[in-house]
């Protein structure tokens, strides 16, 4: 981004010009409903794994969009695929398929920048 009069510490800011979009593109190609998420958090509220761990499925969406894969790798295994998030999602997103695609993408895609 061009400098235009104010600065933000680089470690604090998001650089949308450099975001790694490989995984999000792969998920949306295979499960287009994922692009309709409005971050309402109903999935996280009902999440069985979220009750006992810090797993937050809504936040995964944001992290993937920002290309932050490091934490996802550890997080994703906390999901038990119970599918309660699918039942409550007001946008009708197939969240279970999204989880499967994340797992698959992380192991089969070349996600390097």
């Amino acid at each position: 981004m061009k400098k235009f009069g104010f600065t933000t510490a680089q470690s604090r800011s998001i650089d949308y010009d450099k975001v790694n979009t490989k995984l999000i593109k792969y998920i949306i190609e295979n499960e287009s409903s994922f692009s309709t998420c409005i971050s309402c958090g109903a999935c996280t509220a009902t999440c069985s794994a979220g009750n006992i761990t810090h797993f937050n499925i809504r936040r995964l969406n944001i992290q993937i969009r920002l290309g932050k894969y490091e934490t996802i790798k550890q997080e994703i295994d906390k999901c038990m695929l119970c599918g309660k998030c699918m039942l409550v999602c007001p946008r009708g997103i197939n969240t279970r398929n999204v989880i499967m695609l994340i797992k698959k993408g992380l192991t089969t895609l070349d996600l390097s920048d």
């Binding site: 409005i38 971050s39 309402c40 958090g41 109903a42 999935c43 996280t44 509220a45 009902t46 999440c47 979220g50 009750n51 937050n56 809504r58 936040r59 039942l87 409550v88 999602c89 007001p90 946008r91 009708g92």
Partner: protein
Amino acid sequence: MIDVLIIGSGIAGLEAACNLYESGKEIFLLEKEKNVGGNVQNWDTLFPDGKNARDIISYYMQEIQARQITTYLNTYVTGIHKCVDGTFEVHTSRDIVFKCKTVLIATGYSLFNAERKEEYGYQIYENVVTSADLEKRFAQQSKNQLPNGKPLHRIAFIHCVGSRDEKSGNHYCSKVCCITAVKQAIKMKQLVPDVEVFCFYMDLRMYGPGFEEKYREAQEKWGIQFIRGRVSEVAETLDKRLQVKAEDTLAARPFKLEVDMLVLMIGMESQASTALFQKSCGLKCADSRFIQPYQHHLDSNATNVKGVFTAGACIGPLSVFDTINHARSAAISVSNFLAE
């Protein structure tokens, strides 16, 4: 032959009827219920200025009576049939066939049945009510306590019940529930000053004049707490309180909250009769099942069927303010059509 047959005598039908009468048209008004006034009869006050809804109804009653507009009550339209000469035959539950030059549909909306969102426990848990129930309680000025006589300490409003929700088949926004929740939350605080009020929302849509100001007043003056998160489910505790489960998405943490009463902000749905009109005269409906206006901006009262017009919320969720304006423009559209 009748110039305009108006289906529905809510505020849209009444407003259009008065205007069409003034322009010298012969009109008939049909109403499926036993009295005129429609949904507004069930409201207490109207946002954003707190106008008494009963004043609106009595205003229209006077206007209609002064003009002696013929109204058929308890009359349900079963079909609209277009004749070869371009006029219409409207069939009703009365075994009367009305012949008319134009039809003005002013059937409004029906309220979402909150029982369909079973996870919120309406009609299962006794202290879960809808926004419409609460409005009736306000209107009856019933004591502001729970039915079992216990005082209210904390209540929560859930936005978007049956709106913006694929699971209930309604992907659209019902528009007025956000500001209604703000209005009702303030009213609760006025009636029970010590009560804690929470609103659970996905997005707040304060689209109309004075709405954002009301939202600000709710925060600033009344201390109402707005939490961004959709409630996933509700459970009843042993003492009949309600445990609400949601994520505070701005804090990124799930939580549970116990409240004494839960208010579901129910949305609007297309009337069942719209499907009958669609079937009998080929009226075009949108994905939302409401009637599709012919042209969104310039001809929002016309439909794909020449001679069939709309007034009010039969084209989609509208506030009282928007409904009255849409009905006035309907009178102009119909008059212009008849003059052709």
